[in-house]
Symmetry: C2
Subunit: 219 residues, 2 copies
């Protein structure tokens, strides 16, 4: 549903900084696809509980991954409402005035109800989506998942129906009188992820080369 | 209270990966102090709502920052329970088997009830804690906050009484038979933040130098 707008519900409609809101699916997908760690939150005993976990996206479905032993994922599995947040910090914005200091960022806050993916083939497909997002190339390279191993993980699917998407990508928004004053520097420190050189496992045999999908993982 | 252990409540006690749990405050403080963006979650109309926002720590208090117009912060201000999550991804762990693929990370999940910092001096002090964490040096360098500007922001204080702290910092945990097999590479791709060169604001006068606190911000 790439052309279907994101549901403009009250909770997913940014009000304070409405001009930063994005309502197109393409931006939502780009933000999700640019990361691999989300913060999944749910309500437990009336209080919010957050769990950082890996994810992947296939079309309009977000797949989340975890152990069946993780109590937050077990709770999420029971059809409760989730909030899944993915935020990328792109810059630290230094303004002339303290009050206009801020961050440049891209954030996607997805609201929805998860369902557990139980069917064997669908579960493998969901795991593949997550694997292809976090460690592209590993699905083909690594030793596959046995039925027993598959039983030890949970795969949750969250429909991408309702989301709040915000992007800030600009310099400081200083007051006219501070700009006119002319004495103070203002600008942005870019922030980005960087991947280092691969570190072999301590128990790795000496003659196994680093595979290309690790060496050249997009960062 | 650096020697007081973190409250071992049921929701803040990791069960699945108990060996990754840390119960000392020093580790909690190190994880919080290593970042500046958190995911704050609360319950609104029975559903979880997450807001990414900046923070700073002073002793055993976490200060969160936002506009008074942000509805999530207004809700948090009314004394509801919060969950504040800070996660650093340190590595992508490639195992010989798919099921042991994972991340190296440090995560702090704080549970607590926020209170609004309303007193003028205490609010300024809280803002300074946040500023010193996100943009160290700016408090001294930038134009200070007027009373009107101060009224436009909310400062929330969350006590660091209850938190779930987890650290994974090791190579892949493969099965013996996969290690013995010896055909596949396993190891870790380190992940880190990087700060780029400062980008001056488009409206900056040409002769204002980049201040040292921006040039040499710890990254």
């Amino acid at each position: 549903m790439p052309d279907m707008p994101l549901s403009p519900t009250e909770r997913s409609t940014p009000r304070r900084t409405a001009h930063r809101a994005r309502t197109d699916r393409r931006t939502l997908y780009e933000i999700l696809d640019a990361g691999f760690l989300c913060h999944m939150s749910l309500v437990r005993d009336g209080a919010p509980v957050t769990l950082p976990t890996c994810y992947g996206r296939d079309s309009d479905t977000l797949y989340l991954h975890g152990s069946t032993g993780a109590h937050s994922l077990r709770a999420a599995a029971s059809g409760v409402q989730l909030c899944v947040a993915v935020t990328h910090v792109d810059g630290i914005v230094y303004a002339r005035s303290l009050v206009h200091h801020t961050l440049n960022y891209r954030s996607a806050i997805v609201h929805g109800t998860a369902h557990v993916v139980d069917d064997h083939d669908a579960k493998l497909a969901g795991l593949r989506v997550i694997t292809d997002n976090v460690t592209p190339g590993s699905w083909e390279y690594a030793r596959g998942t046995t039925r027993k191993e598959l039983a030890s993980v949970s795969v949750l699917a969250v429909p991408l129906d309702e989301a709040s998407v915000k992007v800030r990508d600009e310099g400081p928004g200083d007051e006219e009188h501070d700009i006119a004053d002319g004495r103070r520097w203002a600008g942005t420190l870019p922030v980005r992820w960087e991947l280092g050189a691969p570190l072999p496992a301590p128990d790795l045999a000496g003659d196994v080369p680093v595979p290309g999908h690790v060496l050249r993982r997009p960062g």
